[in-house]
């Protein structure tokens, strides 16, 4: 019988040896925002703001259900937000306002002017 104790034995990322769906040799190129998200992860690591291991634990901290429903880079983006809140770098309200502003611009694409003028 597998019960609640199963949750005590493994964190969500610890999948080694777990039952799994059939293997498929899947390849797909990254969407532009996914590549930016990857680059953001690297840059956050360089700046000692969020290390690779912190990011992984941040993803794990989202919990199995959220992990299961989000895509690979979606988890990263959400984990970054949560970690930056925890570190006091950003606030949820500030982020929500910024997202609204970007949405109102009609595109998530940054322009050099946006960045330079920031």
């Amino acid at each position: 019988m597998i019960g609640l104790e199963d949750f005590m034995h493994r964190l969500p990322n610890d999948v080694g040896g777990q039952p799994s769906p059939a293997f498929a040799r899947v390849e797909h190129p990254l969407a532009p925002w996914e590549k930016r998200c990857h680059a953001l992860a690297d840059v956050l690591d360089y700046h000692k703001l969020i290390s690779t291991e912190e990011k992984r634990r941040g993803v794990e901290g989202l919990g199995a259900e959220v992990i299961g429903r989000l895509g690979y880079y979606e988890r990263w983006a959400v984990a970054f937000a949560v970690l930056l809140f925890q570190k006091g770098v950003l606030t949820p309200t500030g982020l929500a306002e910024k997202m609204k502003e970007i949405e109102a611009r009609g595109s998530a694409e940054r322009t050099p002017a946006d960045v330079a003028g920031a």
């Binding site: 999948v15 059939a22 797909h28 680059a39 840059v43 690979y72 979606e74 982020l95 940054r110 920031a118």
Partner: protein, 220 residues
């Protein structure tokens, strides 16, 4: 094991694996989230404008051709090979491959007695400075879950049959330590130049899921 109460977990696992494949087709909200994080960090002068774009260029500059160059050199220069096995990162740097992060590298040599396979069960750690970004299958649950318990069966799904007398070793990567497989040099390549050898070496051979073959077409 097939307790009905546990079905949720199985459904969940299936959804997980499938989701990772299709999720990128609906980037809207997360695209905005990523952009917002980036812009706010620049506004707070934590990141410099242009830093992300420069890192994208770095990511784009890394392909398996770099790893292949290292492998071909190891096949043709025994002293280089010995140094590579003793100090993976330092020896790659000697060949001009820069590491853009703090990760260590261990190079694992395949022989007629040992076959090495690389995985990251916890996430997707990978020797990115040498191979670029990992393939999707490397990041998905089936590969990660099975590599450590039934590597021979998993390898067979890549068409790689490892003879029983050959030991299979699975190296599980971490955020601080990455692995690269030094595949066996195929027979019949004695007269090949280093460049000709490098052209045979595929990404998947350096992960350890396929051997290097003389007639291999570069599929990865």
């Amino acid at each position: 094991m097939h307790d009905p109460n546990h079905d949720h977990d199985h459904d969940h696992a299936d959804a997980d694996a499938h989701k990772e494949i299709v999720a990128t087709e609906r980037p809207g909200y997360f695209d905005i989230l990523e952009t917002a994080l980036e812009e706010m960090l620049i506004e707070r002068k934590i990141l410099q404008p242009g830093e992300i774009d420069r890192q994208i260029d770095v990511l784009d500059s890394r392909t398996p051709a770099l790893g292949a160059k290292v492998v071909a050199r190891a096949w043709t220069d025994p002293e280089f090979r010995a140094r590579l096995l003793a100090d993976g990162r330092g020896t790659c740097e000697e060949l001009g491959v820069t590491f853009y992060d703090d990760t260590g590298l261990i190079v694992l040599e395949n022989t007629d007695k040992i076959h090495n396979l690389v995985v990251c069960t916890l996430c997707s750690c990978y020797p990115r400075p040498l191979l670029g970004l990992p393939p999707e299958w490397y990041k998905l649950k089936p590969y990660r879950a099975r590599a450590v318990v039934e590597p021979r069966a998993l390898l067979a799904e890549f068409g790689t049959i490892i003879p029983e007398e050959v030991e299979v070793r699975v190296a599980d990567s971490t955020s601080a330590l990455r692995f690269l497989v030094l595949p066996m040099r195929p027979a019949g390549t004695e007269g090949y130049t280093e460049e000709q050898l490098a052209a045979l070496v595929t990404r998947d051979a350096m992960i350890g899921v396929v051997p290097v073959q003389v007639d291999a077409r570069r599929i990865a």
